[in-house]
């Protein structure tokens, strides 16, 4: 039986899964009524600013705060000495290391936090920063991770002296953090020895920064009378912040109130806990006044985390037809002066072992060595799930390298190696169970729509004329939705997520979640999931997140985990509501529960369509006519522990033209086909894809945080750090296939990061493809005109006829 007209009308009225409803978030933002952390203003609030190290590596000989303290309006200047009695001068990192909150006798990176100045307003605080006199003795810096483990390398972390075991096992040098290995080494090595074809490439994924438009900040307010602390903070994971603050401060977790209000973008940068948060809290406790700390852009880029910085050696072994038999990867990971990676606790290199990608590779092995350097700590994800971009990038690059070596077309080699639909659930050689995927269908669709064959012909023609054109493919698989609590936790808290829903008597509802939106449109899309599940229009469902007093505990929003975890919790909480509603409906209609069936927004007596109770009617009855033995009310809570990750995928095609006299790369076409399983809101999905692709474009074309040998960070302001404007940003075409996740309650997989993960490879592969005929197999990002021009010039490709 098809859907009746009346049913379609009711579906439309719900605004549930699949519709492109406009966003609930927008009304406030377009009228300037957002409420971001810097908008929080409390009576008597003080402002804070940091004194930061000008050196990459130095001993602190003395700190003289007297001049600063003498300045009218200055309330306090905190140094490590002041925090030490509270045991707050160091804090644990999510990666099992410790990080100095304020530099303790020495600094390990430029811009490191040395003293915290608190004053009546931000201008006075800035003045006072200049009046704090710090005497340093400069030490030699290490900025090249390949020299971190030299026998005579400077000691970056004297505090770890004598500790030859770290959080992830044995350390083989005082500047070594961990070695992480996965896969079957013996088998992989064996295949490599006998394989007809092998390729090897050194690939660097440069250090960069997610750089949300809003920097990080916090407002801490300690209520001395009640011993309670309230903190507004730019956090993607406010519940975790509450737990950390409670552990660090010794305050009861019930007396710590953490609020993540509106967040102006996060992209992974706002997962961690930063010294500024801790210092504002301590200052508020000490001074008994609210203290606001908001970093400026340079501080954000220079001191608050970073992304990537993976030096990767990729190797593939293949048979004579280009079928990959084995993959071997070695990574030297530059973690900076402290290991402050924000990965699930047991995963020091995140889920880098997704690096066999979309391909059926039977043997693989990965080794990652993490080392200290005199650089900013971090290693947070930049719009990707825990080192997934790095893993995806290395395989998408290497398969191109293999194609080139074998003289195979870059699409053809992918088609030969894809995991086939009938192989799902697929066990990867590096330990994952891929849930579902339709890789070949996706790529074939893209090739057809973009006429791939014609593009290759055009490239051939252009090459004859000396023109540079590149075609980049990326057929990536992501791993998101961390995660099953049996393998994923953060500081011991399992990575579930949650939804709590209450249906009010008159049939509207409020639902709260443990995640935290930073632009992903949760208020819009969670309501759609619930609308479909409980039969109440999404317009009548309020969504709230971010206030740890009211929202159920959850691990937050990053790693594209919201839809796979909290989205699933929404569906299951909705189903609990429906189960209770069914009991109430049966009571009202005086039939057995089994005689009822669900029909969009109501329960209907089977075969008697006019005998029905709508959810609205049931909601009212839940508060006055529940059947005997059933408690009143209509509420449900779900803490969802996913059985597996989800594995979104996509096929991207990028065409670039490169000016051989200026090195300028122009993106002529970008076609992005994504498969994120069930699509909740196509408008929102497209928006996520546009944004992720633009960040990928930025990474490929210009973003880097370079250091000189002395440890100076060259380029931590928007004068240097590349953020594309509307002018440089390419236009995108989007498309999709739908391969639902079999284990997710509504089949959704998550999409926020796919365009970034897949996009970087597509841009990069396109640029390198433009030089393939000249024998180039790899060029490191970023592809700024100046570096591209150098390549052209070195290869003699800029000759005028």
């Amino acid at each position: 039986m098809g859907i009746l007209e009346d049913q379609q009308a009711r579906i439309d009225q719900l605004g549930g899964i699949g519709c492109g409803r406009k966003r609930k978030e927008d009304a406030r933002f377009i009228q300037g009524k957002g409420n971001y952390v810097d908008d929080v203003k409390l009576p008597g609030m003080l402002h804070a600013d940091f004194v930061r190290s000008p050196y990459g590596h130095a001993r602190i000989k003395s700190i003289d705060t007297s001049k600063a303290l003498a300045l009218p309006g200055v309330r306090a200047v905190l140094t490590a000495k002041d925090l030490a009695p509270l045991k707050l001068h160091w804090m644990p990192t999510l990666a099992g290391d410790v990080q100095a909150v304020l530099a303790d006798e020495k600094v390990g990176f430029q811009y490191q936090e040395v003293a915290f100045v608190v004053a009546d307003d931000r201008y006075i605080a800035a003045d006072a920063v200049d009046l704090v006199k710090v005497e340093y003795e400069e030490l030699p810096s290490i900025t090249d991770p390949f020299h971190s483990m030299d026998p005579d390398a400077p000691v970056i972390r004297p505090d770890l002296d004598g500790k030859d075991t770290g959080a992830h096992g044995k350390r083989k040098h005082y500047n070594h953090i961990f070695t992480w290995e996965v896969g079957d080494k013996a088998e992989t090595d064996r295949v490599f020895e006998t394989a007809p074809v092998t390729v090897k490439e050194q690939i660097w994924y440069p250090r960069n920064h997610g750089m949300p438009l809003e920097t990080c900040g916090s407002v801490a307010s300690f209520d001395k009378v009640n011993g309670e602390l309230k903190v507004w903070v730019t956090s993607q994971a406010p519940h975790v912040v509450r737990t950390v603050v409670s552990l660090l401060s010794g305050l009861d977790e019930s007396k710590v109130h953490v609020v993540a209000p509106d967040i102006g973008g996060g992209f992974g940068v706002k997962v961690g806990v930063y010294p500024g948060y801790v210092c504002s809290i301590v200052a508020s406790i000490v001074l008994g006044k609210p203290v606001k700390w908001i970093e400026d852009r340079v501080e954000h880029l220079a001191a608050t985390a970073f992304g990537r910085d993976y030096h990767m050696t990729g190797e593939l072994a293949a048979d004579a037809d280009g079928r990959i038999q084995a993959a071997r990867f070695y990574v030297l990971a530059d973690h900076g002066a402290f290991d402050s990676c924000a990965d699930p606790t047991k995963w020091p290199a995140g889920f880098f072992n997704i690096c066999t990608g979309s391909y059926d590779i039977k043997a693989a092995h990965v080794t990652v060595d993490g080392v200290y350097t005199n650089k900013t700590p971090g290693g947070v994800s930049y719009r990707c799930s825990f080192r997934v971009t790095e893993g995806s990038y290395v395989i998408e690059r290497m398969i191109d390298v293999l194609a080139q070596k074998m003289g195979l077309d870059k699409a053809e080699i992918r088609l030969r190696n894809f995991i086939k639909p009938e192989q799902f659930p697929y066990q990867s050689a590096l330990g994952w169970e891929y849930d579902s995927g339709s890789y070949e269908a996706g790529l074939r669709k893209v090739m057809e729509v973009c006429d791939y064959a014609a593009l290759r012909r055009e490239q051939e023609e252009k090459r004859k004329r000396g023109e540079l054109m590149g075609i980049g493919l990326s057929t990536f698989t992501e791993i998101v939705g961390a995660g099953p609590t049996k393998i994923c936790d953060i500081l011991g808290v399992g990575m579930f997520d949650s939804c709590e829903i209450r249906i009010h008597p008159t049939g509207s509802a409020i639902a709260r979640f443990g995640t935290k939106d930073q632009g992903q449109s949760h208020r819009t899309t969670y309501a759609q999931i619930l609308a479909t599940e409980v039969g109440i229009p999404s317009e009548s469902i309020m969504i709230e997140e971010g206030d740890t007093d009211t929202a159920p505990y959850g691990l937050g929003t990053y790693g594209s985990r919201s839809t796979p975890t909290a989205g699933a919790a929404a569906a299951r909480a909705g189903r609990k509501i429906r189960a209770k509603a069914q009991k109430i409906a049966a009571h009202l209609l005086e039939v057995a529960e089994d005689d009822l069936e669900w029909d969009i927004d109501r329960f209907v007596v089977k075969g008697v369509p006019d005998q029905a109770k709508t959810m609205k009617e049931i909601a009212w009855a839940a508060y006055n006519r529940t059947p005997p033995g059933l408690e009143p009310g209509l509420e449900a809570v779900e803490y969802y522990d996913p059985p597996n990750m989800t594995y979104p995928s996509g096929a991207y095609l990028c065409v670039v033209d490169i000016d051989r006299h200026t090195g300028e790369v122009k993106v002529r076409r970008f076609y992005a086909l994504d498969d994120c399983g069930t699509r909740i809101n196509p408008m929102v999905i497209d928006g996520q894809i546009h944004g992720g692709l633009t960040e990928a474009f930025a990474v490929a074309m210009g973003q880097e945080l370079p250091y000189d040998k002395a440890g100076n960070l060259l380029g931590a302001s928007l004068l240097d750090y590349f953020v594309p404007t509307a002018v440089e940003t390419p236009r995108y075409e989007t498309d999709f296939t739908v391969t639902p996740s079999p284990h997710h309650p509504i089949g959704a997989k998550g999409v926020g990061e796919s365009p970034h993960v897949g996009g970087v490879s597509a841009f990069s592969n396109a640029v390198i493809d433009a030089f393939a005929h000249a024998g180039v197999t790899h060029l490191n990002m970023p592809y700024k005109s100046s570096t591209v021009w150098k390549t052209i010039h070195t290869l003699n490709l800029d000759q005028r006829a």
Binding site: I30, R122, F267, Q688, T725, A726
Partner: protein, 161 residues
């Protein structure tokens, strides 16, 4: 310390007189003294445009304007865009075309687009991109912002015939 100065100016049609240190930036006066927190701060180098306001008929980055420079000026911020009849066509366009995500760049985008459409009421896509190049967005990839501005241009042109 810098000395105080009294500055009178009009913001969103309302007259204000403030006494500010001469070094105070307009963005801080707006946000902290007048509680108009719609105007945001995203950088310290005039690059991001989150702080864009309209000053005497021109788009300016209020993080790089001293409040004392706004003596007797007419200032428009995002809070002043909607009229008595409801949302400005640009505000409508941003919502209809999904021109925002985290919303942090949005006030600056809207106020810049407001001035841009007066400079060029019927722009094509390239002109919009160039006209908006002073405003960064990290979330949307601009494609829907361009559409949102086209939406408003069409609505305003239709309204004026």
């Amino acid at each position: 310390m810098s000395e105080q100065q009294t500055v009178g100016f009009t913001v969103n049609g309302e007259r204000h007189t403030v006494s500010v240190p001469t070094r105070e930036l307009l963005v801080h006066t707006l946000r902290e003294r007048l509680h108009l927190t719609g105007t945001h701060i995203g950088c310290d180098s005039s690059h991001c445009g989150a702080c864009t306001v309209d000053l005497n008929g021109r788009s300016v980055k209020s993080c790089t304007v001293l409040t004392v420079q706004a003596q007797n000026a007419e200032v428009l911020t995002v809070e002043g865009l909607a009229g008595p009849d409801g949302l400005h066509p640009l505000q409508e366009g941003f919502r209809e075309e999904h021109g925002l995500q985290c919303g942090f760049c949005t006030p600056g985008m809207l106020v810049r687009a407001y001035r841009f459409l007066q400079e060029n009421p019927d722009p094509d896509e390239d002109q919009i991109r160039t006209g908006m190049a002073g405003n960064l967005c990290r979330c949307t990839g601009y494609q829907n912002i361009v559409k949102a501005i086209r939406y408003a241009a069409e609505k305003q042109t239709a309204g004026s015939v």
